[in-house]
């Protein structure tokens, strides 16, 4: 039984597209208000961005601000050696006499030589303010002001599958990410291979029955857009759980305490989902490392590079085993690079950075333009040469065949990686 006023308010709120951040829903005598993402423009309608694709985009977030200069080291530049007196990376794996990968990135170096890695230099945010939170917000939303809450991938999902497929976007990490938050779509976040199976006590003797009853909170009849946000989330949870259990083989009750899932395990799960019938279009991997290396950078960053390399090698090995290598592109995202001059053991927040795009169908090499290490901005930071949205525009338009101008509210130059 559904109170008709409930539907009315919900629908109006959703269709208005709106600047409102609060949605009032009066249902069954109780008043339910839920914060919803606010958006500058209306959400793209389902199907407006292009056809669904069988290609997959995997985004790996390097949270905290990855030091691009230690990942792809400009060892041929004398100025680098002056700036990095305590954090200089020794013995980089030379790629072309100018730059070289961190010595722990041996696998990636091999992929680069095979033409499967695009190094994009000088990627940054206009008017950077060096804040983790503001900068992450820019990267998550693909907007350079704070008026938009929906994520760039959330908008992509809004405009391709809507609420129809909660598993078109899967987050693998300690929780959801704002990058995948849409105005009219779901994403599912899983933290480990148990997928969406609850870890309930013994006295709940039948998890499947519990989940079936839980589904009863969602009224029959109305389509997803007419449900309250909580009802929609419950319905999506139950549906996604069934499908994920099939793909990950995680139907059994998970005993004990959840353990830590490292990047290698996260990418194993990604590879399993890609090979299975779930086949998400976008996979967002986060929670890997703390790249905010104000201190002890050489040791900490070196360990993170080793973990990244190991995880990527395992991921592509599994993709090969499933015959899916050609269907996948990996993109790194990190909120900023780090200060040009180190601080005596670490580096403070910076601006322009290096991001990697990895896949067997792109044309490997160096893209963008390396920022000058001599001509710095007023805060002694690198000056970006590539708008971060060009990276997004490239994968949206040239990999996912989606209209990037609608997702990003503007047209950005693509980088020609997939030419």
């Amino acid at each position: 039984m559904t109170d008709p006023s409930c539907n009315l308010v919900t629908r109006r709120t959703f269709l208005a597209g709106l600047g409102a951040s609060v949605m009032l829903v009066a249902c069954g005598g109780s008043q339910i208000t839920v914060l919803s993402p606010k958006n500058r423009g209306a959400a793209p309608t389902v199907g407006s961005l292009g056809e669904p694709t069988d290609r997959v985009l995997v985004v790996i977030e390097l949270g905290g601000g990855n030091d691009g200069l230690s990942m792809v080291v400009p060892h041929g530049n004398d100025r680098y050696h002056d700036l990095r007196t305590t954090t200089r990376v020794e013995n980089p794996i030379d790629l072309d006499g100018e730059v070289g990968f961190h010595p722990n990135l041996t696998g990636l170096a091999g992929m680069y030589r095979a033409g499967e890695v695009a190094i994009v230099e000088g990627v940054g945010i206009p008017d950077p303010d060096l804040s983790h939170f503001t900068s992450m917000d820019r990267w998550w939303t693909g907007a350079t002001d704070s008026t938009r809450r929906a994520g760039w991938l959330g908008r992509y999902l809004d405009g391709t599958v809507g609420y129809e497929d909660p598993l078109a976007g899967v987050v693998i990490g300690p929780g959801p990410t704002p990058a995948m938050l849409g105005d009219g779509s779901f994403t599912v976040a899983i933290s480990d291979a148990s997928g969406l199976t609850p870890n309930v006590p013994e006295w709940i003797d039948d998890v499947d029955e519990l989940m079936a009853m839980w589904r009863g909170f969602v009224p029959e009849g109305p389509s997803a857009i007419d449900l309250t946000p909580i009802q929609r989330a419950i319905e999506a949870s139950v549906n996604a759980r069934d499908e994920l259990s099939g793909a990950l083989g995680s139907t059994s009750r998970r005993a004990g305490r959840p353990g830590r899932t490292d990047l290698t395990e996260q990418l194993r799960i990604a590879a399993t989902l890609i090979a299975s019938g779930v086949s998400p279009t976008v996979i967002y991997v986060h929670g890997f490392g703390d790249f905010d290396t104000h201190l002890e950078q050489p040791r900490r960053h070196g360990e993170l590079m080793a973990a990244l390399d190991e995880a990527l090698q395992e991921f592509f090995r599994l993709l090969d085993a499933g015959g899916r290598r050609e269907r996948v592109t990996v993109l790194t995202a990190s909120e900023f690079g780090r200060r040009a001059r180190d601080n005596g053991g670490g580096t403070d927040h910076g601006t322009a950075n290096i991001q990697l795009v990895i896949g067997s169908t792109l044309t490997g090499g160096r893209y963008g333009e390396a920022p000058s290490l001599t001509r710095l901005d007023a805060n002694s930071n690198l000056i970006h040469t590539v708008d971060f949205r060009s990276l997004y525009a490239t994968v949206l338009s040239n990999w996912l065949d989606a209209d990037h101008e609608t997702v990003l509210d503007g047209s950005y130059e693509t980088l020609g990686l997939f030419a």
């Binding site: 804040s131 959801p176 969406l196 006295w203 009853m213 009863g216």
Partner: protein, 409 residues
């Protein structure tokens, strides 16, 4: 009943159904809660550790978490519990980086003691707090290697908010904040430098401090930590931002300009926060049913409410279930605190809310109406009532607990 429950939800954590039953009206509930702040509880004792250790899982803090959640669930002083959580979220500090549960406990003791006192007292205590000095690299910030981490977050997150300072203010403040260290007894170099400072306490090292003129927020002087904190405390943006954040937290919606002006009255950041809270709860918006159940419960509120309804204490499992939701106390995911709003509504969070059932004993047969009453659900939709009525008795609490109605506070 619903309005009394609302008062306890917003000014406490949960709420405990027995506390709700004891107040005759929302006004009476408010005055009982405010009066109860006069007699603080004793803080759990803890022995200092032999060393710092890597954070791998919640086991190191599980005992502290259990103690804290038990206070949230059963303390006779709910407002101190609400505000201790509020400030932990505001001055977010994570064991993941601090690597010493003992230092998190010291910080917790500080926050708890100062939760309702002037904001200025709390800000200066946190600025010199050992866990914060480690978490935002203050203890590494020195004349040889100026580190901006704390300088930025104290302005952006703890006080002014973006738009009220420049990058130059941050760079200059970072220089002023140099020189602070902590007497960590297992670090021989620091033990020597600490002189007469007791173990685990912060101290100032002249040799590591940048002396000389700095210009911060338009004021040029030979600034140090105390003068930076004073500038931030006195800045009007701090007063407005703290009052607005607390109003939004307690009322469940952002204030209008009129509402915030009335709620702040003549409160300043050097007056007790309790005065500000009194100003906020006096606003008609606080008891306006329009603002009931407007927020999503956080995982901590969900779990504490479950224990209040059907549990006896907090077992160690609680920490693991909260960790799996990125909501482990003492371990916020980043310096801006714990996630809120739509981030709490993902399938991962909802499905794993069922994990919290591990913290209660197998229930006796619970009639549907009792489940609603214990969980504080006074306005239940038809689908929820029908679902619980049709469910197996041992699933009733689980379903009531993960119903759309219980998700809100």
């Amino acid at each position: 009943m619903r309005s009394v429950s609302h008062v306890y939800k917003r000014l406490g954590v949960g709420p405990h159904p027995d506390q709700v039953a004891s107040a005759a009206s929302p006004e009476e509930a408010i005055s009982e809660i405010l009066d109860a702040t006069a007699s603080p509880i004793d803080v759990r004792p803890m022995d200092p550790p032999a060393d710092r250790e890597e954070f791998r899982d919640p086991s190191g803090v599980a005992g502290l978490v259990a103690w804290w959640l038990e206070q949230m669930a059963f303390s006779p002083d709910p407002l101190t519990e609400r505000m201790t959580w509020f400030w932990h979220d505001h001055f977010a500090t994570a064991i993941r980086k601090v690597r010493a549960p003992y230092l998190m406990w010291l910080q917790h003791r500080t926050i708890r003691a100062l939760a309702l006192t002037p904001f200025s007292d709390l800000l200066v205590a946190i600025a010199k707090d050992p866990a914060m000095l480690l978490y935002l690299d203050g203890a590494q910030n020195n004349v040889e290697a100026v580190n901006e981490n704390y300088a930025r977050e104290v302005m952006e997150l703890h006080t002014l908010g973006t738009g009220h300072y420049t990058q130059t203010d941050i760079t200059e403040a970072a220089r002023a904040l140099t020189g602070w260290l902590i007497h960590l007894p297992f670090n021989h170099r620091i033990v020597q430098a600490a002189g007469t400072t007791p173990e685990w306490e912060p101290f100032f090292s002249d040799r590591r401090h940048v002396t000389g003129s700095k210009t911060i927020l338009g004021v040029t002087a030979d600034h140090d930590l105390d003068s930076v904190v004073e500038l931030l405390v006195e800045h009007p943006a701090t007063r407005h931002r703290i009052a607005t954040k607390l109003f939004t937290e307690l009322v469940g919606k952002p204030p209008t300009e009129t509402e915030i002006d009335r709620a702040m009255r003549d409160w300043t950041t050097t007056d007790p926060v309790l005065d500000l809270i009194e100003g906020i709860v006096e606003q008609p918006a606080f008891l306006d049913p329009e603002n009931f159940d407007t927020r999503l419960k956080t995982p901590v509120e969900r779990l504490v409410g479950l224990v209040q309804a059907f549990g006896r204490g907090i077992p160690a499992e609680a920490s693991y279930a909260l960790h799996n939701q990125s909501y482990l106390p003492f371990n916020p995911p980043n310096p801006s605190g714990f996630p809120r709003d739509a981030a709490l509504l993902g399938p991962h969070q909802l499905v794993h809310s069922f994990d919290f059932l591990n913290v209660i004993d197998p229930p006796e047969d619970a009639p549907v109406e009792l489940v609603f009453e214990r969980l504080g659900l006074y306005s239940v939709g038809a689908e929820t009532r029908a679902t619980l009525a049709a469910s197996a008795p041992n699933h009733r609490i689980a379903l009531g607990f993960n119903s759309p109605e219980y998700a809100l506070t």
